[in-house]
Amino acid sequence: MIGSILEYLYLAIIVLMTIQAIFNIRLLLYIWEEPQQAWLNSAPTIYREPRLSFTILLPAYHEEDVYAYTLQKVYDLNYPKKLVQVIALLREHDPGTIKVAQEKLAQLRAPNVQLLVTSDTFGGKPHQLNLGLRMAKGDIVTIFDAEDEPHPDILQVINTTFLNEPVDVVQSGVQLMNYNTRWFCFLNVLEYFFWFKSALHFFASCGMTPLGGNTVFVRRDLMQRLGGWDHTTLTEDADLGIRLCIAKARVRILYDDEFVTKEETPHTIEQFIKQRTRWNQGFIQILFSGRWMKLQKLSQKMLALYVLILPELQALFTIMIPVSVLLFFFVKLPVWLAILTFMPLYCLIFSLFVSLAGLHEFVKVHHRQWKWREAFILLFAFAPYQLLLGIGAVRAVWRQMRGAANWEKTAHIGQHRAAH
């Protein structure tokens, strides 16, 4: 009796793992499902006349190494200067970056580039953004992070997209570029690649889009009506995505390989785990805030729930895979059930091969060279990478339970710039 209950329970877990794994693979490959989908990621080839004005928010904290370069890059975007407002958002306990920014601003001598220094009492990035939003004058508000390298034509592309299509939000692609600097970089870069290029389109088609942290273009009036960013969460971007979806904003995802905003991976494993912990903990906070329950359709709620608990779920399931293989050999199960226990492992191996194919695609579209050595590193890095993700997930749960909610900063040194 107990044996058969356990058997059914085990079967249920296996089925859940398989469904999750297949769904995950579907997310990875969504954009390649049908030929027409390619156009979703194709930026307009003919730009419309610049009509919309932009406010670019540039929040940063201790980014003196890269900030001046980023300011220059943003200032140099191909768009009429009088239609662009750049607000450098810095914090008062960060004199280094403030100094760098001031020097840069003095050098640029541009009226549309402003510096806004905020007090640290009221928190970090969301607070900076909210104050930046108050000063924003453009039709469209957007964020770039301190280490970002946006494409020079990005504003033209977004202007054209907003004029051509009835949208309220455009999430353009963000791409980590230094795919071969450390062993874990391959998979981290590919995660971004699949997430922005493929998975987000699936979310958008369901009406539940967890947005990225930058290169998101939102109509300012909409942003102001929503009341800006939530400063109580660690992942204000994902929270904003959900709130935009509750407000039924029309979200457009646009990942054209040519126009992605280039970023870098965390440069140490410690940084990587910290970053993951922050994201995962932010997701847990959003989960408990319960705002996602306000989404209209059940499918949207389920999808939101899935995204929010995904890191923990994946960590659990990854541990389960070796367990299920061991059970296959050591526990006498009915033949069909035993064959079924292999499904999650098969899915995991498939996602490994999908990652390899993704690497091939990535190096092709970004004009890098395919090297077999790197493919092998990716293969060997696959299992340890899952371990890192698992550590990130467990750590986030642990921190949340302890009540630690401080922001663990990810340092940037500009590896993506050295990479080419």
């Binding site: 390649w32 049908e34 030929p35 220094v117 007090s119 194919a357």
Partner: protein, 588 residues
């Protein structure tokens, strides 16, 4: 709010701090210019600015010519259709053609050809499967079990193994259904590969009416089931409009095909080429990967089955595994170690030539033409690749039966249609009269149908299976139900199943064994029969079985029983090979 901020702005003499409260302050740099003049939507730009913009944009476009757009062209030969035919009419014609070919296929289906072991084995296994075993005796890993799993499902669906008289009949009706489906699939495939519906119809007619098809497609063979799945896979690839969901289904179909007949896994390269052709360049990489992986995963169920039963490796390979048992790898090795029998291949070859020499010759010539055409038209190359793949499988197989040609037939027909269609299209296009090509195809079809039917009718006329059915009836009426009966496989299910031809309304026979399972080293010879020929009561012997038990050393037990047997009944004649005899073993 911004108004409020501006009101509170402190005019700092250094022009640095615009605004300061408890939680933030604003720095600005000279010259201080209001940003309120940003443009609003609706564009208040001047005409001059717009002109400048337009010319700048033109310059940019000229410079940006090298921009890569996604490549989304699907390989679609069907787009070349020039003669429009309403779908309803097309369906009607195809349905009519399938109906005619099915009628021909169904003529005398229950009585011709005579039942063979190749038909009996899967039927007996299907019966065993419905009673909790993979095969009637030990599973030898000769074939993956999915073929007879499907037959068992069919039997369940149609209300039992005796729904159509006897087991083989039931299987043959299943084959009829599959033949209709396979014909339709070949039509769709050819239509997509050639872009011509008349050529597709021609291919279908050739496939359905060639004498080889008429004979072998009606037999209960796993080859027929596998061919259906193979064609389904190809059809999904070619008609799927490059959607990954259809590639997934196509991969699953090919997986099922190879689980039905393991040789079909060797079609993988040709099928990958088909995916490569039919996926857009944008999706190609991931489509190929998905297809390949899913086929292998589905096929791996066979390996896992062996692994689970502890029968993957031959005994002695794994530590502690010393007891003799069957194994998947052992069976594979044995298959390759079986010596090639040239005389057997020669006999098979002459059967083919006698039955369908013209068809095979036309197919070979067509393959040659398509190799040449394939340098320009990759669809022709695909057709050749498919036919060549199976030809190679046949050539390297150590044992080739006459029915082994079944999977080759649709691809030969495909090649013939393509080889006729493509040069004809080229010619008629030159003179601007494509209708002539279609007409020519129809004339060919018109000549082919009556000719093949005329040829087929006498071929299919003999009641070759009648003696076998009579033997079953004799057993039903005369043998006690607890008797130990040794029989060819095609009578097995009918002796075991209540209500079936060999049993009637009474109890089924409880001790029936297929003679190939009673070899000297088998469980049955040692266990149930205790190595004693006297435990055998009846032997039902046909020509093949007689040859085996009198010549093969492993059948010594049966041979002895045979020599102590008294002939109780004999049906058929020795001359046409339909002789079947029932011996009762007399105990001394």
């Amino acid at each position: 709010m911004s108004q409020k901020i501006e009101d509170k702005v402190e005019k700092d003499p250094g022009n640095v701090t615009l605004f300061r409260t408890g939680n933030f302050f604003v720095h600005a740099f000279a010259p201080q210019v209001k940003t309120g003049s940003l443009q609003r939507t609706g564009g208040s730009t001047t005409i001059l600015e717009r002109i400048r913009w337009t010319s700048a944009e033109k310059r940019r476009l000229v410079a940006a010519q090298t921009r890569l757009l996604p490549q989304l062209e699907t390989a679609n030969a069907a787009l070349r259709q020039e003669i429009t035919i309403p779908l309803a009419l097309e369906s009607l014609v195809v349905a009519l053609a399938i109906f005619i070919t099915l009628v021909v296929q169904a003529i005398n289906i229950f009585n011709y050809p005579a039942y063979t072991a190749a038909e009996g084995d899967p039927m007996a296994s299907a019966w065993a499967l419905l009673h909790g075993q993979i095969t009637p005796s030990v599973y030898t890993y000769n074939q993956p079990p999915l073929g007879w799993i499907q037959i068992a499902a069919w039997v369940q669906l149609t209300g039992g193994i005796a729904s159509f008289g006897n087991a083989i009949n039931s299987g043959r009706v299943f084959m009829l259904v599959l033949a209709a489906a396979s014909s339709l699939l070949l039509y769709l495939i050819t239509s997509r590969l050639s872009g011509s519906r008349s050529a597709a119809l021609l291919a279908m007619i050739i496939y359905a009416l060639t004498p080889l098809s008429l004979v072998y497609r009606r037999e209960v063979l796993v080859d027929n089931i596998g061919t259906f799945w193979l064609l389904l896979s190809l059809c999904l690839i070619t008609t799927g409009k490059s959607k990954s969901s259809t590639f997934v289904m196509a991969a699953a179909a090919l997986g099922i095909a190879s689980l039905t007949l393991d040789n079909f896994l060797l079609f993988l390269p040709a099928m990958l080429y088909a995916v490569w052709l039919y996926a857009t360049p944008f999706q190609r990489k991931f489509s190929l990967l998905t297809f390949l992986y899913i086929v292998l995963v589905v096929f791996s169920a066979y390996v896992l089955l062996a692994l689970l039963r502890g029968e993957l490796f031959p005994p002695g390979v794994l530590p502690g595994d010393t007891k003799p048992h069957m194994s998947l790898i052992g069976a594979l090795i044995q298959k390759w170690q079986t010596s090639v029998a040239p005389e057997q291949f020669a006999a098979t070859w002459s059967t083919w030539i006698q039955t369908g020499g013209l068809f095979l010759l036309a197919g070979l010539v067509a393959m040659g033409i398509n190799v040449l055409g394939g340098t320009v038209n990759r669809f022709q190359l695909l057709a050749v690749l498919l036919a060549a793949t199976y030809s190679i499988i046949l050539l390297v197989s150590h044992v080739v039966y006459p029915f082994s040609i079944v999977p080759l037939l649709p691809f030969m027909a495909l090649n013939i249609a393509l080889a006729l269609n493509t040069p004809l299209r080229w010619l008629t296009r030159k003179i601007g009269f494509d209708l002539a090509r279609a007409l020519l195809c129809f004339i060919l079809i018109g000549a082919l149908v009556p000719a093949s039917i005329q040829q087929a009718l006498p071929l299919l006329a003999p009641d070759a299976a009648l003696p076998q059915q009579q033997a079953l009836l004799w057993m039903r009426d005369n043998a006690p139900r607890n008797a130990v009966v040794i029989t060819p496989s095609y009578l097995y299910s009918d002796l075991r199943q209540p209500g079936s031809m060999g049993v009637g309304t009474g109890q089924p026979f409880s001790h029936v064994y297929i003679y190939t399972d009673v070899t000297s080293d088998s469980q049955i010879a040692y266990g149930q029969l205790k190595g004693n020929w006297q435990r055998i009561h009846y032997l039902i012997v046909d020509a093949a079985m007689l040859k085996d038990i009198t010549s093969g050393e492993q059948y010594a037990l049966l041979n002895e029983a045979y020599h102590h047997g008294v002939l109780r009944a004999a049906y058929g004649s020795k001359n046409d090979g339909t002789l079947i005899q029932i011996y009762q073993v007399i105990l001394t």
